[in-house]
Each structure stands twice: as C-alpha cells, then as structure tokens.
C-alpha cells in the first residue's frame, strides 16, 4: 500500500512539473520579445556541420586513397560488381541484350518471352499457394503487358530481386554475428534504429556520389535501407530457436559452422522467411521511390506521368505497383507458411523437380512458338491499352463535380487545423519547447530519457533546422492525431463486431502492403500539391496500425476480466469504456508508436508533393548533390522519430505497470 501511495505522490509531482514547464514555456512566449535568443534560435549560434560533411564526403568520393587505391575506384568497382547480375537479370527479364558492332547491325539477344515469364510465375504461385493466388498472379502480369508496362515492371522486379538477394545475404550474416556475439548486437541495435528512421533521400545523395546517378545507386540505397529489419529478424529468430535444439547440436558433436548453418538457421527458417517477406516489401517500396535518382521502372513511370499530367498513365502504373506489391507479398508469405509434407513414394529426379521442369518446358515452348507467333514473345504495341490523358477527363470531372466538397474539405482542414497548428508550432520559443521535452522525458522515464530528448532537439536548433523541424513536426503531429482518432474509432468497431473486424483486417492488410509512393498518386490527383495532400497521404498510410492494434487490444482483453465485469453488473457502455478500452490501452499505445513511425516514414515521401519541413531539405539535397545537408536533415528527422518512439514506449511501460498487465513488446 505504501508503495502505491508513494507512486501516486510522485505521479502528482510529475504532473505538476510538466504543468510548471508548460507555464514557463508559455511565459516565454508572452514576456520575451521574438528577438530574444531563447525564443527564436539566433542564426549566429548555429553551427554548420553540413558543409564540412559534404566537403569530406566529396573528398572521400574523389580524392581519398586507401593504400594508394582511390576510394572512388573501390566504390565504382563495387557498383560494377552489383550491376553485373542486375543487368543480366534485367536483360533476361525485360530489355534483352544489344551488342553494338562496327560495320554491322547490332547483335541482339531478346529477353525471355512475356508469356513464358507469366506462365512460370503462375506455376510457382500454384505450387506454393492456392489456385486463387495463381489466378491473381496471372492477372497481375497480364496487367503489366496489356497496359504497356511490361519492361518497367520487369526492371522494378529485377531491382527488387537483386536488392533482396544482397540484402538477405548480408542481413542474415549480420544477424548471425549479432546472435553469436551479444556485444556486437548491442552495438548494432542503435545503428539499425538510426538506419531505419533515417529518410531514404538522405541515403540517396551519398550513393549518387559513390556510385553515380542511376539504378545502381538506387539499388545500393535500397539494400542499405532494407537491411536492418532482416538482420534484426535473423538475430531474433536464432535466439528463439528452442534451447534443446541448440543443445542437441552440441551433443551431436557438430562444429560451430555446422551448428549455425545446419541446425540453427534451418530450425529458424520460418521466421527467416517471414523476415524475407518484410525485406521484399520494404525493397519494393524503396526501389520505387529510388526511381527519383534514375532507377527507372514503375516508379519512374508514375513520376513522369504525373509531371506531364497524364493521369491515366499515372493510375495504370500506380495500379501496376499495387498489384505487384500484393503479388510479391502473398507469394513470399505463402512460401514462408508452407509446411513440409512427406512424400508417400520415392520419386525420380523428374518427379521431384516437377516445378523446375515444367517452368523450363513452358519457357522453351513459348520461345519456340514465338518464332511463329511473335506476339507470344513481345506483347504487341497495337494491343496495349494507352490510358495516356484518358484519366485526365475523369479526374477533372471528379474535381469539377465535387469541387465544392473537395475545396470545402481542403480549405476547411487548412483553415481550422493545419494553419493554426503550424502557427502554434512556429511560435513556440525553442527554449521553452526543449524545456517541456526535457521535463516530459524525465516524468516518463527519468533523466536519461530527458537527456536524449533535450540533446536531440537542441542539436536540431544548433544545426539551424529549428523552423524546418517544426514544420515537419506539425504535419506529423496533426496526421498522427487524425490517424489515431479515425483508427481508434474503426478499431473499436472491429474489436466489438466480428463482421467489421473481417472487413477491416482485409483493408488493413492491403493498406500495409502498398508501397508509400502509391499513396501519393490519388492524393495528388484530387488535391494537387501542398500540405493538405501530404496530410491526407500520411493519414491514409499511417492509419493501418491504429486500426489493427486497437482492434487487437479490445479483442485481447482477457475473458475472465470480461466475465468478472459482467457479473458485477456492467452494462454495454460501461463494459466498453470502463473495462475494455482501459485494458486495451497498452496495446493501443503500441499502435500509436507504429502510427508515429509510419507517419515519419511517409512524411519524408511527402516532400515530393511539396511539403516544406526537414524532408524538403533531404530532397533538395539530392538535386544539389549535397550529402551533408541531406544527412544532417535526415538525422534530424530520425532523431525526432526516435524521441517519439522512446517516449511512447516509456509511457507504455508506466501504463502497463499501473494496470498490472505485462509490458507489451
């Protein structure tokens, strides 16, 4: 009891401290003039780390020597090494190979026929999954062909494949290392944290410096971006292998190598394959954004179409990305979930490798037939459906018919929510903000957490990014707020009704499969560019975990607690608001954490539709080839995301402790 009492008392002290800090910050606002250094961070206090960083990276990429070997040569060689399999795969799948000759026509090796590739995908889908999956895959690949997107799609697919192979390989190696050496793991975890929250654009600039503009730089950025989750999953999966299996490996007298690669990794294969599924989806999302630096492919098509206002084309490419994402997700998921089933009879090589043989046969047959019927090899241009500007009419019809509603919604949101919030964030004195961040951090998790928050926000101010950071923050805070309100309402509905839950689960599954970039397309079409479409895109993207975790939390309340409440005479309303929702709070907060992380992830992409925060700095850095600025601004975003993450986790621990529930992970 005394413990309870003292924790109540200290809670009161904490709340008082937070209120006092806010009061001081507010007092700053009114009492100090804007010329005061504590209100607006003075320009001559800022330090410029970006320029030296840029200079250093440029030096690194041009003149730096490693044992007399130019560093640039090493990176170019690496790039060349990666480009080989990529070009071969891209050639085989989509573009073919052209060898130019003096005094002769160029020698051309054509790519594999589109029909052959489609049949193979369908065979694989049927083998690992259901007929429905096979049908869906067939439709997806037909879609690529019919809408004239075959080559772009194959290029994107090749990029994803190569990125996944390299990322998977390095990721598993790092994961194994992290498993074997806990200190390596402890060292890598914070690095992964930063790598995962650092905006993609920040990676792109240095990659351009080292690997040149084009698909290889994009590929390298993709690998680096997608690697941490794979490494993490690997370490977790190996740690989760039952102890007895590990002991068996030792008792059987297996060497360390055998224990790792014959026992541990195969025993963890299911989780590893699920990690691979994540890796594939993340790579696809990144490859598409990386189109910006000349990776081409479907992402590039969307971008080009949007720029030249060919809405039909943009939609077609957007759908192609969507379909590809769903196909890859379901296919790799089916592979991960496949169960081993024994074979009743011993079968010959041909029987055992039926899939491979039938794929090869299909390929051979289509190649042979395409000599007679060229349409089987290359989908004829004459049959493609050119949407071009077709969609423009539809879009303008929508915008003219619903003009009042659209403008009403947009302007209303801007006037009532976006603008006031933005003005508020920009007017808060920086010192007061940092003070509040520090006190809240202390109240939630002690002085270490407070120090982290204060350090990161002070660094942002020092680097001269305060204003930009506040602009980023205001959009994130508002969209997180909106996502949580809508997500909570929908999740609550799903948590209470089975039918709603089924529908919402299907919706959330699709929302979470779609690459970030896809969200921008409809938003730009309807709302043009600016903060409002960015806000809508972030809400659409980040709402999924809000729904999912709320529903899961409500459904996860233990049956005996519900029965207990029912027996104490709770009515339906009391059951929801006084039992289920409070007990689901820790899970909902987990959802909030995810929503915040996803909002930051999407924020970065919204720079493409003209937001003005730190994300814009990272985007502009690409065109100016200014890696220092890109990285520093990116670290600013990553830092803010990490502060949010740690604060929410600390809050969650406190809450779970108070409710007597296990701390959710």
């Amino acid at each position: 009891m005394s413990h309870q009492g003292s924790s109540k008392a200290s809670a009161a002290i904490r709340v008082t401290a937070i209120l006092a800090a806010i009061a001081v910050a507010a007092a700053f606002c009114y009492l100090l003039p804007r010329s005061n250094g504590l209100v607006v961070f003075p320009a001559d206090w800022t330090v410029d780390w970006a320029t030296p960083l840029t200079d250093w990276m440029k030096y690194l990429s041009r003149d730096f020597d490693v044992f007399g070997l130019q560093f640039a040569k090493i990176t170019r060689f690496l790039g060349w090494l990666v480009s080989q399999p990529f070009e071969i795969l891209g050639g085989v799948m989509g573009t073919g190979f052209t060898f130019y000759r003096v005094d002769a026509e160029p020698f051309v090796i054509p790519p594999l026929p589109w029909t052959g590739i489609t049949i193979c995908i369908v065979l694989v889908a049927h083998h690992v999954g259901t007929s429905r999956l096979a049908l869906w895959s067939a439709a997806t690949f037909l879609f690529f062909a019919v809408f004239g997107l075959w080559e772009s799609a194959m290029l994107t697919l090749s990029s994803v494949t190569i990125a996944v192979i390299i990322g998977g390989f390095i990721g598993v190696l790092l994961g194994v290392l992290g498993y074997r050496k806990p200190w390596v793991d402890a060292l890598l975890q914070p690095i992964y944290d930063i790598m995962q929250t650092l905006p993609l654009f920040s990676y792109l600039v240095p990659m351009i410096l080292f690997f040149g503009f084009g698909p290889i730089a994009a590929l390298m950025a993709t690998v680096i971006f997608a690697l941490p989750p794979m490494a993490r999953v690997t370490t977790q999966a190996l740690n989760a292998v039952p102890n007895s299996v590990k002991e068996f490996g030792r008792i059987a007298g297996a060497t360390r190598f055998q224990r790792t690669w014959w026992v541990l990794v195969p025993a963890a294969r299911k989780q590893l394959l699920l990690g691979l599924n994540q890796l594939i989806m993340l790579s696809l999302a990144v490859v598409i954004v990386a189109s910006l630096i000349g990776a081409g492919g479907l992402g590039g098509d969307v971008l080009k179409a949007l720029r030249s206002v060919r809405m039909g084309d943009a939609l077609a490419s957007g759908f192609a990305i969507t379909f590809m994402a769903i196909t890859l997700d379901r296919l790799s998921y089916a592979v991960a979930m496949r169960r081993h089933v024994h074979e009743t009879v011993t079968r010959g090589w041909l029987q055992r490798n039926k899939l491979l043989v039938s794929c090869l046969a299909a390929m051979a047959a289509t190649i042979a037939l395409s000599t007679v019927l060229p349409a089987l090899h290359t989908y004829p241009d004459a049959w493609t459906v050119e949407l071009g500007r077709f969609g423009n009419g539809v879009v303008s019809w929508i915008s003219s018919t619903f003009d009042a509603q659209i403008t009403g919604l947009r302007d209303g949101t801007i006037v009532w929510f976006l603008k006031p919030t933005k003005i508020f964030f920009l007017s808060v004195p920086w010192a007061g903000f940092v003070l509040v961040v520090g006190v809240v951090g202390w109240a939630l998790g002690g002085w270490r957490l407070a120090l982290l928050g204060v350090a990161i926000f002070t660094a942002i101010a020092l680097l001269g990014y305060w204003k930009k950071a506040m602009i980023s923050l205001y959009i994130v805070v508002l969209s997180v707020f909106a996502s949580m309100i809508i997500g909570f309402a929908l999740g609550l509905w799903g948590g209470l009704s089975d039918r709603a839950n089924r529908a919402l689960t299907a919706l959330v599954d699709i929302l979470q499969t779609l690459p970030t970039f896809v969200y921008l397309i409809p938003v730009v079409m309807l709302f043009s560019i600016g903060d409002f479409p960015a806000f809508v895109a972030i809400v659409l993207y980040a709402i999924a975990p809000g729904i999912r975790y709320t529903a899961a939390g409500i459904r996860g309340v233990r049956e005996n607690l519900i029965e207990g409440a029912m027996m104490s005479g709770c009515n339906r309303r009391q059951m929801i608001w006084q039992v289920k929702v409070p007990l689901a709070l820790p899970t909902i907060l987990l959802g909030l954490n995810q929503v915040v992380m996803m909002a930051f992830g999407m924020l970065v992409i919204t720079a493409l539709v003209g937001t003005r925060g730190l994300e814009e700095v990272t985007l502009v850095a690409i065109s100016r080839v200014n890696p220092g600025d890109g990285l520093m601004a990116g670290l600013g975003i990553a830092g803010m995301a990490i502060v949010f993450d740690r604060y929410i986790k600390a809050l969650n621990r406190k809450l779970a402790h108070q409710l007597g529930l296990p701390v959710p992970k």
């Binding site: 039952p242 007895s244 299996v245 002991e247 068996f248 030792r250 008792i251 059987a252 007298g253 297996a254 060497t255 055998q258 014959w262 026992v263 195969p266 025993a267 294969r269 299911k270 169960r339 081993h340 089933v341 024994h342 074979e343 009743t344 011993t346």
Partner: protein
C-alpha cells in the same frame, strides 16, 4: 552392482551461477545455505554432487523442478562448465579436455534425448536420425542405412519420409531416441524423455525403453520429475533437492529406508509389493518350515497369494537354488497395504 567398476563418475560437482561463483563455491560455500548463496547474488544449481554409474546400469536422477537435476546432467555432458569438481566418462575428465576432444567424445561416446524432442523441423525422420552421422562426415548411403536400422529398432518403419510436425508426440520421441542411438554411444543421457507425453503413451514408452535397454545394455543417466517412473525404471537412483543429492540407492532401499521425511513423502504412495523383492525382506535367522520355495528375485506382489495361502515359513532361494532365508505371511503384511 555398486561393486562394478564405474563407467561414469561425478566427484564433488558444483555448479554455481553468478559472478565470482568459483571462489565462493569452493571456499565458504561448501557449508552455505541457499539463502547465503543468493545473498551473494549466486544461485547454486548443483551442490557437491558425487555419484557413479556402472557400465550397463540405468541410473535415474529424480527431482522436482528447480532441484538441479537438469543442471547436473548438463554438467555431465559438458553443456555447462563445472564450477568445481570432476566428471569422468570412461576415465576421461571432460572438463580437462580440449574443445576438439570434447566434440570427439560427444560424437562417439555420448548422446542425449530431450524432453521436447529437439527434432530439426526441416529434416524428415530419416534425415533427423541420420543427422549425428552427417556431422561426422559419414557418406550419405552409409548413414541412411544405419538410420533405417534405428527406425526399425524403434518401430517407425514406413514413416521415414515424414516430417516431425506430421508425427504424434510419442512418435517424435521415438525419433529422438533413434537419433540418439545412431552413433552407438556408450553413455545415454535422457532428460525427462517422457514428461511431455500423455500418461498412456508414457507407460508405453517406458516399456519400450526397457525393451531397448534389454537389447542394448547402455550406461544410462535418466532424468525425471516422476518418482513412480524412477522406481519403475531404475537400477539405482538419486533424489535431488535444492541442488543436493538427498538419497542414493536402489529403488528397494528407498522404499525400505527413506533417508528423511522428504523422501518418505514420495514413497508413501508407491505400491511397495510391486517394488520390493522377496530377497530383500527375507528373514535370515529363522529356518524355513515348509517346502514351498520362493525366488529371491521375485516381487512380493507375484508371490503374495502363495505366501498368504501357505502354512509356516517359506524357504527363500537365490538364482542358484541356495536357501538364503525364509518368509512368513505375517512378515508380508506391512508391505501389502
């Protein structure tokens, strides 16, 4: 059996978890209580355990959870490093050999069966059973031939190509047993092999285990938390509590002379007539008065009817037919309830 030469020996084995464990365990720790250990931030997993197992003997270590039985067996297999003491397998001190020699020992001399089976999910029954030979580099055809023999031995013929998650618990443990026998080990460790199984399957597997041992004559260390199982299977057994061996001896010795109340609590519910042999309660001082001899090695249960129906003192004879004592029905009474 105790007179036979020991094949596996533990001498003063200590396993203490925590920082600075070694100094404490060997110095003042010898007399320290569990509380004193935890006051130093240490946990005594095994405290000064000494035992010896003869060749071909089934030695059972029984204890409730947290008693240190699993820790002790992990000390014997080198999975845990000892804090103090020695473990000798066939004269080799396993804590004083190189990693390489330890691997060799594990490949040739010892094997282990696990409570949760510890089968590799990606391999078939055949692949799992052949696995210990695979790590030794035995060619495929040879190791699969050996594995097939093991499959037959444990009665899983026809299931070679099944994957573990297609099998029942009992079948999975048969695979675990077969796998642990492929390398023809001399010492066979079984860590609660039947604890995860349903009671009926457990009995079936116990019989199966005895059948196998009758054929194979391995030196066995068998861990269980089930006193009945220990009594049923053991040649000799040890009961552990709080990391210490409380009592060690044959099942009959446990029934006849429980060392303390803790042991007595376990023996209370054991049907004594099933465990005890005629020889161990025969009266050596009074001469037999009838000519209906009883075998010394027979269980009381099997002769009870005859003794109760008979008149006077039955002669008790050993395997050679020599009279070693006598038994009257009044002497049987205390053991039949």
């Amino acid at each position: 059996m105790t007179t036979q030469k020991a094949f596996l020996e533990c001498k003063g084995v200590w396993k203490v978890f925590g920082p600075g464990a070694e100094d404490f365990a060997t110095n003042p720790g010898g007399e320290a209580s569990t509380e004193e250990f935890s006051a130093h931030g240490l946990i005594a997993g095994v405290r000064d355990a000494s035992l010896s197992v003869a060749k071909g003997e089934i030695f059972i270590i029984m204890g409730l959870s947290g008693s240190g039985k699993s820790t002790l067996v992990r000390c014997m297999t080198g999975l845990h490093e000892l804090t103090a003491g020695h473990v000798l397998i066939d004269g080799i001190d396993i804590n004083n050999i190189s990693e390489k020699e330890l691997v060799k020992l594990r490949r040739k001399k010892i094997s282990m069966v696990f409570q949760d089976f510890a089968l590799l999910p990606h391999l078939t029954v055949l692949g799992n059973i052949a696995f210990p030979l695979k790590v030794q580099g035995v060619p495929r055809a040879e190791r699969e031939a050996t594995a097939r023999k093991m499959i037959e031995l444990v009665g899983l013929s026809g299931r070679e190509s099944y994957y573990p998650d297609e099998l029942s618990g009992g079948q999975q443990q048969r695979v675990g047993i077969a796998r642990s026998l492929t390398t023809q080990p001399e010492v066979w460790f079984l860590d609660e092999p039947f604890s995860a199984l349903d009671p009926l399957i457990r009995q079936e597997m116990q019989s199966e285990f005895l059948r196998l041992q009758a054929m194979l004559h391995k030196t066995i260390v068998f861990i269980t938390h089930d006193f009945d199982e220990a009594i049923r299977l053991a040649d000799r057994m040890a009961v552990m509590k709080d990391g210490e061996i409380v009592q060690m001896g044959t099942p009959e010795e446990f029934i006849l002379n429980p060392a303390n109340d803790y042991i007595r609590e376990f023996t209370k519910h054991i049907p004594k007539d099933k465990v005890l042999k005629v020889g161990s309660i025969a009266n050596g001082s009074d001469a037999p008065t009838n000519d209906q001899p009883l075998q010394a090695s027979a269980s009381l249960q099997s002769v009870a009817e005859q003794v109760i129906a008979g008149d006077g003192r039955h002669p008790v004879i050993d395997a050679a037919g020599q009279v070693i004592g006598s038994l009257h029905r009044s002497e049987l009474g205390p053991y039949l309830l």
